[in-house]
Structures are given as C-alpha cells and as structure tokens.
C-alpha cells in the first residue's frame, strides 16, 4: 500500500466551507466505510484523487482510506482499468460502488450519497423497491459516463450505485469520461449521462432508480 501521509495539506477542491458541510453529512454515518483507491503516482489525476480522498476521509472517524499501486490492484474486486479508481467497502466487503476519476464538480453529490447510503442511514427508499432490487438474479455492470459539470449525471450515478449497494450482483461505476478518450471513442459518447449496461447496451439521459431496476434481470 501507499503511505497516505506522503500527501501533505488538504485538497484544494475541498475548501473549508465545503469540508464543514461534508463533516456535517459524514457526522450522520452509522458504520465505517473504507475507500480503497488505486492510483498511479506518476499521474497527476491520481495524485489529485489521493489528496482529495485523504481530505475527505479526514472528516470522519468512520471513513478510512487505503491507497494501492496498480501492481497491487489485482487483489481488489473493482475495475482498475480506468484509473484513478476508488472502491467503497463496508466490513471488509466490496459494495459494488466505484468511482473512476476525481468526483469533483457535480459528482461530489454522488460520492457523498454513496458513502451515506452504504454507511447508513441512507436515503429513504420504499420497501417494495428494495425487494425488487434484491430480486435481481443476474450479475450486472452499470457504467455511468459523466461530465463533472453535468447536472443530470449525479442522479443516475447515485441511483445505479444504490442498486449496487442493495444487491451484490450489481456493480455500478462512475467514470469521468474526460479521462478516458478511448472509451469515449469506442462508444461515440457525445452527451451525458451516457450509460453502458453490461458493456453492451447503451443509452443517454437520466433514468430513475425504478427504471434502472426494471432494466436488470
């Protein structure tokens, strides 16, 4: 693992005011969450991600950060093709939620919601919907390609990640497509949110958690 202490100071993306707001939200957390991040220390975005996560994790005793090199990534359960990557864990178990790229811009919202929903109490959700999500029997992967400036994206990211939190067969990834031009080119992404389901089906635009659930087997 990489020593987090080598990152001095706080992330410039999280000013004092924002840190205060995040502290307030993280103060509602019920159980510990571990952020496991794979970073390439030669890359600026990775270093930025590491400092961002370190600063975020410092705001709660229930948030822990572990940094891994790409060579150590094989041991981790989440997709490490798109770096920097961060997987969320609870009780040592991977939640199915990962972020690829720094969750800045509007995606701070989905990042915070992922932690809140994984740790508890979580956003309110109807029992009927929870049952439907838990009845999903086929493994599914949801990649939500975003632009950090897009105000439509966080809701789709949060919805897909809530499904992943509730059903271990589902994996939900937020990808800042600005960092992955090969992915953009492969799928011809020109608008976001751009969702890739099981690396096959694609669609653009917002979907509710109910709609996403209905698409999964």
């Amino acid at each position: 693992m990489i020593d987090c202490n080598q990152f001095e100071g706080t992330s410039p993306l999280l000013d004092e005011k924002l840190q205060g707001e995040l502290k307030g939200i993280f103060g509602k957390m019920e159980t510990a969450v571990t952020l496991k991040a794979v970073v390439d220390m030669e890359e600026e975005k990775s270093r930025e991600m590491a400092l961002f996560l370190k600063t975020a994790a410092s705001l709660s005793d229930l948030l822990t950060l572990e940094l891994y090199t790409p060579l150590e990534a094989e041991a981790l359960e989440f997709d490490t093709e798109y770096l920097p990557a961060t997987g969320l864990y609870k009780d040592g178990i991977y939640s199915g939620v990962s972020f690829h790229g720094v969750p800045g811009g509007r995606e701070i919202n989905s990042f915070v919601l992922a932690i809140y929903n994984l740790s508890g109490p979580g956003q309110e959700i109807g029992r009927g919907l929870v049952k439907k999500i838990q009845k999903i029997k086929k493994p599914a992967n949801i990649k939500v390609c975003v632009s950090l400036a897009c105000h439509h994206c966080p809701a789709v990211v949060a919805a897909s990640q809530r499904i992943a939190i509730l059903n271990p067969l589902v994996k939900a990834q937020m990808l800042d497509a600005n960092l992955y031009p090969a992915l953009v080119e492969r799928y011809g992404i020109t608008r976001v949110p751009f969702v890739i389901l099981n690396d096959e089906t694609t669609f653009t635009g917002p979907r509710t958690i109910e709609e996403l659930t209905g698409m999964l087997g």
């Binding site: 790229g101 720094v102 509007r106 919601l113 632009s147 897009c150 600005n178 608008r191």
Partner: protein
C-alpha cells in the same frame, strides 16, 4: 419561454438572390427543415464578407444535417447580385441571400437598427416547425463563427430529438477537475 425561444416565425415574403438567380422565399419555403436566419448589416462592407464566406465554407456541412442557411440584410436582391458579381468571397455563396429592404423580417426578429436602416448581427436557429430554438445577437463589430453555429444547430437538433435531459460532453484532455458543487438539499 424566454425572449425569442419557442416563438414561431412570422409570415413573410421576400426576394432572394440564390446561385445566380432571383427567387421568392416565404415562410412556407423554410418549413420542413432546419433553418438559420443570419442577419448582417449591409452588402459591400468589411466584416460581413468574412462571416458570409465562413458560412459558405461550412455550407455543405449544414446541408448534410438538413439545415438551410438564409443570410439576410436590408439590401435589395439586386444589390446582393451586384455584390456576388463583384466579390469572389460572396460569389462562392450557394445559400439564399434574402433581401429585406422593408425591414419586416429584421423587425420581427428585433434586429433592425432603425436609424441606420440596417440589421445588427443576429443569428436565429429555427426548427422545421418554424419555431426559434436558439439565437445570438452581436454588436456591429463582433463577428460570428460558422463552426460554432454548426455546433449549435447540431445541439438544437439533438435536444429536439432527445429532449433536454442530457448535457453536451465537451471534454478537453488535461482539463482541471471542476470544483465540487454540493447540492443535497432535500435529498438527505
């Protein structure tokens, strides 16, 4: 809807100079396809040929996406022809050059500078139903960019087809990470 957005274009009948001939253009002529009404102050001036020439260079790309260009000034169609005959840049234009000497079109689009009797630099993107979907108006000395206009028409067409629930993906590699914008009011 704010300003001109969503407003349907008025009935009109004007003369135009188009590829060597004169023709009549009406509201009915422009329905059924996307249109750009491109107002400019006057023929035989300096910024205007640059803009019109720029549009001419991208004209085929506009046509490929089903969009017609209509340049418009308060000059008559005869002056348009004279300009095309006198200027190599204008002579290469293949889109209709509308003549609006009575100022009716310019008045409808609110781009008529009445004292000068000229139109300011207004660009209006109109959908196949005749409704304005985007527009920009520049002061006299500020030129416009045809490539940017093409992008806007494409964006307008996309939104028309897919609704406004998506964002454009204008990524630039190496761009700085956007400052976080926390907004969870009513969500937590």
């Amino acid at each position: 809807m704010a300003g001109f957005i969503g407003k349907e274009i008025t009935d009109f009948t004007v003369q135009a100079y188009h590829k060597g001939t004169f023709e009549t253009v009406t509201k009915e002529s422009v329905l059924g396809h996307w249109s750009v009404f491109f107002f400019y102050p006057a023929d035989f001036t300096f910024v205007c040929p640059t803009e019109l020439g720029d549009l001419a260079d991208f004209y085929e790309e506009f046509r490929e996406i089903g969009c017609e260009i209509y340049s418009v000034s308060e000059d008559t169609h005869f002056v348009h022809k004279a300009w095309a005959d006198a200027s190599e840049t204008i002579g290469k234009i293949k889109y209709p050059m509308l003549a609006d000497p009575a100022g009716r079109l310019a008045s409808f689009f609110d781009v008529l500078a009445e004292e000068e009797g000229q139109a300011v630099r207004g660009t209006f993107i109109v959908n196949p139903e005749g409704k304005i979907r985007a527009y920009e108006i520049h002061d006299m000395g500020i030129g416009r960019n045809a490539q940017e206009l093409l992008r806007k028409v494409q964006a307008a067409q996309y939104v028309e087809e897919h609704g406004d629930q998506v964002c454009p993906a204008k990524w630039k590699p190496g761009e700085e990470t956007l400052t976080p914008s926390l907004d969870l009011v009513g969500i937590l």
